[in-house]
């Protein structure tokens, strides 16, 4: 089943057209890596997909349900609020700089949305939260506050927070870019473990080696368009397009 479909997405900021007609599909259980230079539009693509930015035109579909479509005037139309709220529950997002809630303990960061948004009981939320913290090897940090944790630990809490709501698709926006180099490994391992469990994920990343190892499908974006896409062996090991080659030549393969 197609968990996510984006069709003919366009997005401008003022006169600057950041995304020029991008379409992509993500199948259930697929791991898609989006790579590309700074300013290529990859972060904006992710922000449109998670509805943190409104689309100018195009379609956004989760599990066959339309969140956004193009009206007769060529402009994007959003689904009614009730439908949007439902669709919002289909995905989660892990931010580059975590965006944990500083005034909540680790366990409360993970459980608060379960209680406040999903209206689960406190006990149920605690069970879910503790399971996830254990999975993230953070059981001993349950009552710590975000400022007391390392960057890698904070990012694992934010992954647990996103997973708690049981999303169908999990987005990552450069999840290791804010971390010290020695801490990126622990996050990449967590994502690999999730991939092994067949979690559907869309990952914007600068870690080319990681993208090659974990992704089923790699999309290279430059100048607001998809320049090249396909399995990692093809896009990363044997790129066909000149721009992809130029971009990848800066990384060791």
């Amino acid at each position: 089943m197609k968990y996510l479909e984006i069709r003919h997405l366009r997005k401008s900021f003022g006169d600057l057209e950041v995304i020029k007609d991008i379409s992509l599909e993500v199948e259930e259980g697929q791991v898609v890596a989006i790579i590309g230079p700074s300013g290529s539009g990859k972060s904006t693509l992710l922000r449109c997909a998670t509805m943190l930015e409104t689309m100018d035109a195009g379609e956004l579909i989760y599990l066959g349900e339309h969140a956004v479509w193009t009206g007769p005037d060529g402009k994007a139309v959003m689904a009614p609020p009730k439908q949007l709220k439902k669709i919002q529950g289909y995905y989660g997002l892990v931010f580059q700089n975590f965006n944990l809630f500083p005034h909540y303990s680790v366990i409360r960061n993970v459980t608060d949305a379960l209680i406040t948004v999903q209206k689960k009981s406190k006990e149920e939320a605690l069970t879910i939260g503790r399971d996830l913290l254990e999975k993230m090897s953070l059981s001993d940090k349950e009552n710590a506050y975000p400022y007391q944790l390392s960057g890698g630990q904070q990012q694992r809490v934010s992954i647990a927070r996103a997973l708690a709501l049981n999303p169908k698709v999990l987005f990552f926006d450069e999840p290791t870019s804010a971390l010290d180099p020695e801490l990126t490994g622990e996050i990449l391992k967590v994502i690999k473990d999730l991939a092994a469990e067949k979690m559907t994920m869309v990952i914007v990343t600068h870690e080319i080696t990681f993208a090659r190892d974990v992704a089923d499908h790699v999309i290279f974006i430059d100048g607001g368009v998809i320049v090249e896409e396909g399995p990692p062996e093809q896009v990363i090991n044997n790129p066909q397009n000149e721009r992809t080659r130029a971009f990848l030549s800066r990384f060791e393969r």
């Binding site: 509805m51 995905y91 965006n99 500083p102 005034h103 949305a113 948004v117």
Partner: protein, 214 residues
Amino acid sequence: MEWSVLVAKLAEGMWVSVEIFSLTLLFSLPLGLFVALGRMSRNPILRNVIKFYISIMRGTPLILQLMVVYFGPYFIFGLPTPNRFLATIVGFVLNYAAYFAEIYRGGIESIDVGQYEAAQVLGYNKAQTFVRIILPQVIKRILPAVTNEVITLIKDTALAFTISVSEMFTVAKAIASAQSSVLPFVAAGIFYYVFNFIVAAIMEWIEKKLDYFR
């Protein structure tokens, strides 16, 4: 005048000062939050009306505002003159809400946009995001600035003297004139200092309570 009578009169004045202080905070702290939200509203009419209100409150002396609230109804509209105490509270609340609003606004605008985005993706609605995620962080951040205003308020209560509300300073002045003595002023000074000392200690205690996060 008997020493005990003097103390009793000063104590009455003291109580009125404490009332002005408490009632002003009770109403202006929440009102200031709504004023701040109006000041940040997307509606340009509301935003500019609030902006004008704040600029008047901050741009004219409080002593003058008190006189307008007290004498205005009669001299401008021909209405009966309001109760002095009520006029004092209204004047103080309107003035302090404007100052608190600007403090709230500074605090709210200093919160990272990522906090709103995280809440949105997790499915919090706007009210939940503000009350559960944003406001607690704002309160911690603005506490030192609020403490400053609260301490200023204690001393500002003496301005009720202008419209002859018998608060601490008014009483002290009356007794001092009648007795040709500066002692009531000394007593008043000590009262304001001790009041401030207690309030500052309470605010410090609240700041410490909020030290559990950064």
